[in-house]
Point group: D2
Chain length 164, copies 4
């Protein structure tokens, strides 16, 4: 398929991702305001750890709310966490007044874990006016401090006008 317009559509968002403390604080507040409105995340016990231009990190502690039939973290909970991490990373590069929606995502599961907590680190791979491509890595943090890869996601996000 012809890709020329995708080139336009994914012109990098340099202006929007210049750093600075004030910028980061504003970005964190912007993401937190949206995150706290999510019943699912609140319900599963997920927390927002870090937000920077082009980056978002979330944590999900182990509980009986996130298990599958073996007592491990449920793939659905892992997928939700990674989707949100990628989506909010994208939000940090979207223009003011815009929200983002997940057009689609693809996730590979690498291993299963019980106990401890999961952390999903979402990053903007390429920002754009019409399409933002992100990746997210989910790692397991064991009580003994061991960190292991759990899942990896690749996602397509679309900026849209905010309606709330």
């Amino acid at each position: 398929m012809r890709m020329a317009s995708v080139a336009d559509a994914t012109a990098t968002c340099a202006l929007q991702i210049v750093g600075g403390t004030g910028v980061s604080e504003a970005i964190f507040a912007r993401v937190l305001a949206s995150f706290e409105r999510q019943g699912l995340m609140r319900h599963l016990g997920a927390t927002l750890l870090r937000v920077e231009p082009g980056l978002c990190e979330l944590a999900l502690p182990y509980s009986d709310r996130v298990t599958q039939q073996q007592g491990g973290f449920h793939g659905g909970a892992i997928g939700a966490l990674a989707d949100i991490a990628g989506g909010y990373a994208a939000l940090t590069v979207a223009a003011e007044g815009l929200e983002v929606v997940s057009v689609e995502y693809k996730i590979n599961f690498l291993a299963s874990f019980q106990g401890g907590e999961l952390r999903a680190l979402g990053r903007v791979h390429k920002g754009g006016r019409r399409i933002i491509v992100t990746t997210a890595e989910v790692s397991h943090f064991a009580p003994d401090g061991k960190i292991s890869p759990c899942a990896v996601l690749q996602q397509t996000v679309m900026p849209v006008p905010q309606t709330y």
Copy 2:
């Protein structure tokens, strides 16, 4: 990449998917036994509607446990529901004594919905000894009876020895 062995690996599971009432009842029981062990599904309020050879249908009623920041069904909940529907469809064609794991899945979101319930219909696209490929369609059932497409998933599942 060379695909010959995938041909072998995905030899269809004809013997395992011949129908019959007794077969279907046994299949439903097999899936239900696993489904009821999932803390996440139980917690979100998902229910098992239908299991047939190569097919599994689940329902997820709307509640504040499954919402995103706009009050609509959360993409993470939609993804979890579709993942489970596809995975259990795959389980129905896996040999006795085997469980299945999601190797990966990819989901496109088609529309957002509030209220009513979601139904995910998972189907085995191609069964195999090493790899089972499934698809799932998620639809929204509105209180007024209107049915709308919500999401579509394509998934790779791997049969593994059952350990519980």
Copy 3:
């Protein structure tokens, strides 16, 4: 992520997919004009079989131009064929004056084949102003007439202004 705007973005294209012979002929001509400009497809020997509103079918005969190391059809050729079939199915529901681009696609390979020809059947799963979601099935047609599933694709396409 919030999906409300995706709902808007994927409002179905009913007006554009009403059928009729004249419509189909115009659609075939529209797709053929673009298809014939593709050096890769021309070079690999792919042909356009069928175009209908929301549907496109392509054929790729076996040759030493499309093989992998075992002499079977190359996954890359299979992926290209499926991508094009899905993309042109999407073009049939895009407004006049618009082209389409593949934002992304995901493909599962089901089996390997040598000789005969491949056919990719692309279908619009959900049309929209900003995003069109398609699926494509690739089948192998053996010289003896046997038809076998080869690959399945799920794709995200974006309408863009035509520039040629």
Copy 4:
């Protein structure tokens, strides 16, 4: 879905990816022997640039064999190149006597380019006995030396017995 067995299935391949010049030369020879058998890659003009344990880099110069309707690199050619780069990266961590097959891949297109050449860098994200997960980044190298991101792929590969 239960992931415990995926944990087993993706036990890292430490023994197979210890470096060393001799090892790298052997790995390059192993990949080249397979690569040169691919009619499609030969036909499109792709070349093998670099092979290291867990890594493979390919180049595809611009020609009328790889174009789409606008004269840019065809998404199908980009996808084929990325698929091969990821697959051969996986081959470098597969045990002796094994080949690899692409179970599936997902690719996002980031921009369109004409002229110059594409380079695909495939990396093993997680190796395993049954499943190897890879990623690949495709970049465009312009005649003036400018390097730009073109596409990103996430792939599932399966080791299988070699049959040639």
